[in-house]
């Protein structure tokens, strides 16, 4: 049971990361690779503040730290006109050193046994099972962020952001400042990613500089899995299914880890095969249906 509840908890925490990636990739249509840097930035800031005794401030400043990283990427992209992919890579590389500085030039801050938000929540509700409380806290953060974003993306500025991702020239022609819109949107997206990192630091009890490596792939996988299973139907639906996709991805990895059939080094290929199998089910079904039609067609042709 720990594994399923634990995977749900992780899925919700990484769901915030997936939401940030969703905003950058799907709404803004920008390939933003700075997620690795901003995730670790949020992680480092939250860990440093929690070690100093301020867990809530750590989470809030983790969000702001991520936003700052996103804003820098935005400025590099729009004002300095660096290609979006390269701008993301530059931010990611630069933030590596910043993160080491935040962590006090050590590469690992330990929060084991200290007061984190999760521990405080467990103390607040003594009657409830510890893991369920942690799940509720993660779920609360996730729901609040998704709701706030869904509302925000329906305001005037939110609609500008959505339009900028859809048809940039049209937006520019409507005399909306596209540069500022992009910077704001990237700041919000990376803020969510930083928040995810901040929560993860307090959840897992340590912050390690390598925690962000490969995190863009995790976010993208969650977005695509959510979309494929639940379909695209609008922004609010998109944000919610992204979180669901993150949870499903975590469950798939848990499944891959639970198997004892393969040696330990096969973990990554087993999880890749499970994800591929799950995502290819609709395509396989369509192939089979098409084959059936061909057969029927041939049969009709022979008879008539």
């Amino acid at each position: 049971m720990t594994l399923i509840v634990g995977s749900l908890q992780l899925g919700l925490i990484y769901g915030l990361l997936a939401v940030g990636v969703y905003i950058a990739f799907r709404i803004l249509d920008i390939p933003d690779l700075s997620a690795e840097g901003t995730f670790t930035f949020g992680l480092a800031v939250s860990a440093a503040l929690t070690a100093a005794g301020h867990p809530l401030a750590g989470v809030l400043l983790g969000f702001l730290a991520g936003s700052l990283g996103g804003a820098v990427t935005g400025v590099l992209q729009t004002k300095l006109r660096i290609h979006p992919i390269l701008a993301g890579i530059l931010t990611m590389s630069g933030l590596y050193s910043v993160n080491l500085a935040v962590m006090g030039s050590s590469s690992n801050i330990s929060l084991v046994g200290l007061d984190t938000l999760f521990r405080l929540a467990v103390d607040l509700l003594p009657g409830v099972d510890k893991e369920i409380v942690r799940l509720l806290l993660a779920g609360l953060f996730c729901a609040a962020v998704v709701a706030a974003l869904a509302l925000f993306l329906k305001t005037h500025i939110g609609l500008c952001i959505r339009a900028a991702g859809d048809n940039e020239d049209m937006v520019r022609a409507s005399s909306i400042n596209v540069d500022h819109t992009k910077i704001l949107a990237l700041a919000i997206a990376n803020g969510c990613i930083g928040l995810s990192g901040a929560l993860l630091a307090q959840y897992q009890g340590f912050a390690d500089i390598s925690s962000g490596i490969g995190i863009v792939a995790v976010g993208l996988a969650s977005v695509i899995i959510g979309e494929r299973i639940f379909g695209r139907r609008g922004v609010t639906w998109g944000l919610s299914v992204t979180v669901a996709g993150s949870v499903i991805y975590r469950l798939m990895i848990a499944l891959a880890l639970k198997t004892n059939l393969f040696p330990a080094y096969c973990l990554k290929i087993v999880s890749a095969v499970i994800v591929a199998a799950a995502l290819s089910v609709p395509a396989v079904k369509q192939m089979l249906a098409r084959r059936k039609i061909k057969r029927e067609g041939l049969r009709h042709a022979v008879h008539s």
């Binding site: 084991v112 299973i229 059939l261 609709p282």
Partner: protein
């Protein structure tokens, strides 16, 4: 175990659900007209139905996989379940694990008495949390963690499963335990603080006259950073100077090594898995420039370094196994103190010695373990 019933229940409910869906879906499709010759067979399904069918299909596939794997679990209650968590594939970590397993077998805990469950996070710390939760889920009797992040993740779960950590360079600093003598937090183990003083003294014996050392390490590894800090302190105390070149991943190693040539008389490599993985590049660069490379583990020396004073990684795994056996014999964890394993083996690589033209003095060679490049 009640948990076993869950997958079976899930499968039954999903299969029933799936069957129902197929029935409902027939109604979802509009009726085919009798003259179907020019109508498309693919009539449009209602989008909601399509989504539900997709979800049901994917869930069925997942549950089929789950049955397959759930059925294959063998949890016998008489055998001891020992979990081993490793962060990344790495020669040193693998040696530690094998040393642990071998010593457990030698002390009587072989396949007939113990199941070893080994999981590797493949360098992905997002998987580390899931692996720890899975160990708790499977009800391990004890868990062995190799290196700091794995130990931290496991201890943070605050489960009842005792944790034995292998080679965490600073367990108190990593908050895994508060006191080496009286371990709390249900964890104990071995720490491998690198004896930098002895290594630099050995360097003085083998290649006297080195005034400046070059540190080559990955700032992302806390073990390496701790070792470099203590090296700097020692070198300051004996009046030598140092330079450093840091890397973030193995692609930067060659250039970092080359940047130090001409500025230093010798390299020093701490216990760093990134440099270890690219060690042959460093060895090539150093041998060309005839610069000795002093390392922190015998794996690194065998990969092309020059010399070290090390504890063998298999040895440190074996010492942790002894602690585990004490626990299994009935001693409570709080009474098994964590040990800093002292290093005693001098390891020198003959191939490197020839390549850089260093003479190994007789009294050192007689005590040392001489190795050649690992094939």
């Amino acid at each position: 175990m009640p948990i076993k019933v869950v997958p079976q229940m899930m499968i039954t409910s999903v299969l029933v659900f799936q069957g129902q869906m197929f029935f409902c879906c027939k109604k979802a499709l509009p009726e085919k007209p009798s003259d179907s010759s020019d109508k498309m067979i693919f009539e449009k399904e209602k989008p909601m139905m399509k989504t539900i069918r997709n979800i049901a299909a994917i869930l069925t596939v997942l549950c089929m996989i789950l049955t397959l794997f759930a059925g294959c679990q063998q949890q016998s209650t008489e055998k001891i379940d020992i979990g081993i968590i490793q962060l990344i594939e790495n020669g040193a970590f693998n040696d530690m694990r094998e040393g642990f397993v071998q010593q457990m077998k030698d002390r009587g805990y072989d396949e007939s008495k113990a199941n070893f469950h080994y999981k590797n996070a493949q360098g992905d710390s997002t998987n580390l949390n899931t692996i720890c939760q899975e160990m708790v889920d499977n009800g391990m009797d004890l868990v062995v963690t190799i290196a700091t992040p794995a130990s931290q993740a496991m201890v943070n779960l605050e489960s009842d499963i005792p944790v034995f950590f292998i080679s965490v360079s600073n367990p108190v600093g990593a908050r895994i335990i508060s006191d080496m003598e009286k371990p709390d937090k249900n964890a104990t183990g071995t720490s491998n603080a690198i004896p930098v003083n002895e290594i630099f003294d050995l360097a003085d014996q083998l290649t006297p006259g080195c005034k400046t050392y070059g540190f080559l390490y990955n700032t992302g590894e806390i073990n390496a950073v701790t070792t470099v800090e203590s090296s700097k302190k020692y070198l300051d105390s004996i009046g030598l100077s140092y330079e450093e070149a840091v890397v973030a991943n193995s692609s930067e190693v060659q250039q970092a090594a080359q940047s130090l040539i001409g500025k230093v008389d010798a390299f020093f490599i701490p216990n760093d898995s990134v440099i270890q993985s690219a060690m042959n590049l460093v060895a090539e660069v150093a041998r060309e420039a005839k610069i000795p490379v002093y390392c922190s583990s015998n794996t690194t020396v065998e990969s092309g370094g020059f010399a070290t004073v090390a504890i063998s990684d298999t040895q440190i795994g074996a010492i942790t196994a002894d602690m585990a056996v004490e626990y299994l014999g009935g001693k409570p964890i709080a009474e098994i103190p964590s040990v800093v394993v002292p290093a005693t083996d001098v390891v020198i690589n003959k191939t490197t010695a020839e390549a850089i033209g260093a003479d190994i003095p007789e009294e050192v060679a007689s005590e040392a373990i001489l190795v050649e490049d690992a094939k």
